[in-house]
């Protein structure tokens, strides 16, 4: 072995040991970052459960403010999800399957509420549908009042939650292979039959998970609701509003409502996972 060979060999071994060390350090660092992040998410959620005794939690569940908020939230979020599905499904199907002038504009407008701050949605809805609003002043002539009613809660939820369904629905329609639709069409199926018998069943998983996500967003709506629908127990005080209000007087009720929402959120994620796994 001459000298250059020896030098090369030692160079290689030094190189590889340094690489191994670097890799170990990197793994450790990534593990630390990951652990820190997971702690950052889990500690606050766990704290909700640690800051209230099971007895106090159960006691709070019997409080009218908690029960009213829970039932109002479930009813309004269900209604708004139904409305979003009824209006959003045809829109998503058309935008997934047809190219027309202005489609990009429609896509942009339907996506807008995702990036729009809820406070903006709240004041915008009030300016439109308030008693002296752009539309509201004419509705007022017929004795129709929307602002500060349960209807306003639902409208606020539809406004902020619709993109979650429409985006997902559009993506799942786009994922359906056109071959099946073309085959049905050549066999004489009407466009309606194609949509009902072929496209929608094939996109089903995506539609359901989109509807679940939309429901979850509606359930969590706060800013637009408190500005446009107000804050009244049993009528417009949904769970997030009740959490905000009771935090200023009855912390146990506030924490209990938060815990219920955490549980629902977990159920939502689990449901979406199950639905998407079964279908794709």
């Amino acid at each position: 072995m001459d000298l250059t060979q020896f030098q090369q060999k030692s160079e290689v071994s030094r190189h590889s040991s340094r690489t191994r060390l670097g890799r170990a350090a990197l793994t450790l660092l990534i593990a630390v970052l990951l652990a820190l992040f997971l702690l950052f998410v889990t500690v606050p959620i766990a704290s909700l459960f640690l800051r209230i005794s099971p007895e106090a939690f159960l006691r709070s569940l019997a409080e009218p403010v908690v029960l009213d908020a829970l039932s109002l939230s479930l009813i309004t979020a269900t209604m708004s999800t139904v409305i979003v599905v009824i209006f959003g499904t045809p829109l998503a199907l058309i935008n997934a399957r047809h190219d027309y002038r202005g489609r990009d504009l429609v896509d942009t407008l339907t996506d807008l509420p995702i990036v729009l701050p809820p406070a903006v949605a709240g004041i915008a809805l009030l300016m439109a549908f308030g008693r002296r609003g752009v539309v509201g002043q004419y509705l007022d002539l017929f004795g129709i009042h929307i602002a500060f009613t349960t209807v306003a809660v639902i409208l606020a939820q539809v406004f902020v939650a619709s993109p979650f369904y429409i985006r997902q629905a559009k993506a799942s329609f786009e994922a359906v292979d056109r071959i099946y639709e073309d085959a049905a069409r050549t066999l004489g199926a009407s466009p309606w039959a194609v949509a009902r018998r072929i496209t929608i069943p094939l996109a089903w998983g995506g539609l359901i998970s989109g509807a679940i996500l939309s429901f979850a967003r509606a359930l969590g709506e706060f800013g637009a609701t408190i500005m446009f629908a107000g804050n009244f127990q049993g009528r417009t005080q949904t769970m997030p509003l009740a959490i905000y209000t009771t935090m200023q007087g009855d912390l146990d009720a506030s924490i209990s409502l938060a815990i219920i929402l955490v549980m629902i959120s977990f159920a939502v994620i689990a449901a979406v996972k199950v639905v998407t796994r079964r279908n794709f």
């Binding site: 340094r18 690489t19 670097g22 890799r23 350090a25 990197l26 660092l29 990534i30 630390v32 970052l33 820190l36 009030l126 308030g130 008693r131 002296r132 602002a147 500060f148 009613t149 107000g230 804050n231 009244f232 127990q233 009528r235 417009t236 005080q237 905000y244 209000t245 935090m247 200023q248 007087g249 912390l251």
Partner: protein
């Protein structure tokens, strides 16, 4: 090449961890000789008056800056109970101040009532529901906005309605009809006013002082007879036990209770309680 990438990644990760740790450890301290900032948690109904008083105080006291947080007294109390660093707390009722004092948050000797206020009915200037007095609050279809049960103006409203319910002239049915007309319960008076000015609400029960000079042509006020007011709204203020700026806080309180502060408060419709010498 690959190695240098890894090195960069390690360096970046280290930097993030270090930044997190530094962020966790640093506290915002004040360098001597610089401006002292007083944080004053103030009941929302004092928004206009205290903003003016704060400016006048700053003009007279160089080196002291006053930062206000205006919100419902119950919201401010909750924040203090959960660790907000505050120098002075101004509450719109004794209840929230007493709760903080009992919890050991206040410097007890500094807590004093300094203001009285009155409740009033307020409607938009065109008074769409034709409100003329308390009896009209129970008319079907009136859109009424009140405070939540914890915010002082909501608490005072409920006391008044309870007193009226106990009087055969109005009775329980009156109170039920009034509560049926409520379209929203607000957590601070400051969120009531826009609803009246936008015409979304027909009437609200707030404080006499809530109609600012600028809004007098947009809103109409109806005084509430004192017979149903068992407890006049009383505002206490005090210095927090953990305030690091007690001297400046004391001079601010002295200013509020002094001739300039009192004049401003009177101008806004409050009744200052004279300081005992």
């Amino acid at each position: 090449m690959k190695r240098s990438n890894q090195a960069t990644l390690v360096a970046v990760s280290l930097l993030i961890v270090a930044a997190l740790m530094v962020a966790g450890c640093t506290t915002t301290g004040e360098t001597p000789g610089e401006t002292t900032t007083l944080t004053v948690f103030t009941a929302a109904s004092l928004t206009g008056a205290f903003t003016d008083i704060g400016k006048a105080f700053e003009a007279e006291n160089e080196g002291v800056k006053v930062d206000f947080v205006f919100d419902g007294s119950q919201a401010l109390r909750t924040q203090i109970e959960h660790g907000a660093a505050v120098d002075i707390f101004v509450s719109a009722n004794m209840k929230h101040m007493n709760a903080l004092r009992d919890g050991g948050f206040m410097d007890d000797d500094t807590v004093t009532p300094f203001l009285e206020n009155s409740l009033a009915l307020v409607t938009p200037a065109d008074n769409p529901a034709g409100i003329t007095g308390l009896a009209d609050l129970a008319n079907p279809g009136v859109k009424l906005v009140i405070g939540t049960k914890d915010v002082p103006f909501g608490d005072y409203t409920r006391q008044m309605l309870d007193n009226m319910a106990a009087d055969p002239e109005y009775g329980e049915d009156y109170r039920d009809a009034v509560m049926e007309n409520v379209i929203s319960e607000e957590t601070a008076v400051t969120s009531v006013m826009p609803k009246l000015m936008l015409g979304e609400a027909d009437v609200s029960i707030v404080y006499v002082s809530d109609i600012s000079k600028d809004d007098r042509d947009k809103l109409k006020r109806f005084d509430i007879p004192s017979e149903y007011i068992t407890e006049r709204p009383i505002y206490p203020l005090g210095i927090l036990a953990e305030s690091p700026h007690k001297v400046e806080a004391e001079s601010f309180i002295a200013f509020v209770r002094g001739p300039d502060g009192s004049a401003t408060l009177t101008d806004y419709g409050f009744d200052p309680i004279p300081a005992e010498e």
